[in-house]
Amino acid sequence: MGKAHKVLVIDDDAGFITAITPVLESRGYRVDAAYSKGEAAQKIVGFKPDLIVMDIMMERLTDGFDLCRELKRDPELKATPILAVSAINKEIGMKFSPKTDGEYFQADDFMEKPVSPENLLERVEKLLKV
């Protein structure tokens, strides 16, 4: 393996970031965190992540959706894989998935919280290979 892949974790829940950072670091990924949509926008430019792990519902219900759409519209960033995470399915009874709602929700993969560490690493690896 050459240079370590960089993963940006975006979530307003600091607990989630604290919990999964050692998991990602265990595979040698370089991890940085952003706690809001605004901070994320800055870190994406500065940190230049190879992959983004992103919560869908942050300060505003639509933050994740919006950020996702903005990134996928940006010609330079649209290739960066996005792994969305959320407890949203259960919380508001809304059912969606990148497979069926790709048009509205252009994440490359989706995981429900809490995420299993093994499963998370598997998905991250897969997304980085493409």
Partner: protein, 381 residues
């Protein structure tokens, strides 16, 4: 001035706020009504035909409207409807010279609250008006309380989902990371305890999810967008899904259904959840080497699904309560079985939201049979 004088004055002052609009083409009737009511302290307004009456109703927003059914121009019936459209809380009382059952029913359908057959005495008028006003007060109060209740309920759901579920999810997240060894070594004893803690978090999360499901069903969210649903297909999916847990308990599960059953009109995911709850319950409450049999058949206008088990059964005293929220049968046999006490109530609500019904026959120590009746769709699929 004695005390009674003050009370009368107070009564008058209170009544001054109540406005009665009299709509009648007969002048004598209008005047008589207004006079009798003013004397009681009500504010009165009068109109000689339906059009003017409607105008005034919009302007003065009366508490009560007296409407003569027989007037030239717009009919009294139409007028009643238009008044209801202005404000459903305006109490309409109909005055009529020929009170027939038919006209009474017609008027009631259009939101009339009461009837005053001509001729009537001023006392009769006052009693009817007073009753009408009480009714108005109650219905306004009721609407307020209903609204408050809805808001409280909504807030509570939000509170539960965000304030409880999020931190629990976070705790669970930490546990899984620690158990995965990503935060340093964990010895066997610690691992065992953390796993137990994790299981407890799981049941709490399950409880919250069940509870949220329940409020979604109550809010009527699932009845939108019903589609024809193939019940046997759902059942075999569920059995496929539950087979491993049944096998782990050495419980045999069998499905017996015809493929050509008519569809039922419904929400596939919800029905799947209802049957999953019933079948996993049957598995949970059946001991080793027991059998759970699921059958689906057509019976009269229904698709009937029966879930029978050879499990612990339910005592006669417990049967009336098994669909109550958070009720759980407590006995030696059921001690080790975990659950939220919401599985059956959720199933019942889902089935009832589909215009179906559920019944149970059970004998302690022998097993239980839950029968679900769902109306089949008219056109055969």
């Amino acid at each position: 001035m004695g005390t009674s004088g003050i009370t009368t004055k107070q009564r008058h002052r209170a009544r001054e706020r109540a406005t009665v609009l009299v709509i009648d083409d007969e002048r004598a009737m209008r005047d008589a009504c207004c006079q009798a009511l003013s004397r009681e302290g009500y504010k009165t307004e009068a109109a000689e035909n339906a059009e003017t009456g409607l105008q005034k109703a919009k302007q003065v927003k009366p508490d009560v409207v007296l409407v003569d059914l027989k007037m030239p121009g717009m009919s009294g019936m139409e007028l009643l409807e238009r008044i209801r459209d202005i404000d459903a809380n305006i109490v309409s009382i109909v005055i009529t010279g020929y009170a027939t059952i038919e006209s009474a029913v017609e008027a009631m359908k259009r939101n009339a609250y009461d009837f005053l057959p001509k001729p009537f005495t001023p006392d009769h008028l006052r009693i009817v008006i007073k009753r009408g006003l009480e009714r108005r007060k109650l219905s306004i109060k009721r609407a307020q309380l209903q609204q408050e209740k809805e808001i409280m309920k909504r807030n509570f759901v939000t509170l539960v989902s965000h304030q409880l579920r999020s931190p629990l999810t976070s705790v669970k997240q930490y546990l899984s990371v620690i158990l995965g060894g990503f935060a340093g070594g964990v010895d066997t004893k610690q691992k065992e305890m953390l796993e137990k803690a994790g299981k407890n978090i799981d049941s709490l999360l399950q409880l919250i999810d069940d509870w949220l499901d329940m409020s979604h069903i109550e809010a009527g969210n699932i009845t939108e967008g019903f589609k024809p649903v193939d019940v046997p297909a759902i059942l075999s999916e569920i059995l496929e899904f539950l087979r491993p847990s049944a096998e782990a308990k050495k419980v045999t599960i069998e499905l017996d259904s015809r493929d050509d059953l008519p569809a039922v009109e419904g929400d596939r995911e919800s029905l799947k959840q209802a049957f999953t709850n019933l079948i996993s319950n049957a598995i949970n409450y059946t001991g080793q080497s027991g059998t759970v049999t699921v059958t689906a058949a057509e019976e009269a206008n229904n698709v009937v699904v029966e879930i029978s088990d050879t499990g612990v059964g339910i005592s006669e005293e417990d049967i009336p309560f098994i669909f109550d929220e958070f009720f759980r049968v407590k006995s030696k046999e059921t001690r080790g079985i975990s659950g939220t006490g919401l599985g059956l109530p959720i199933a019942k609500r889902i089935i009832e939201a589909h215009n179906g019904s559920i019944k149970v026959v059970s004998e302690l120590g022998k097993g239980s049979t839950f029968s679900v009746f769902l109306p089949k769709t008219e056109v055969k699929q």
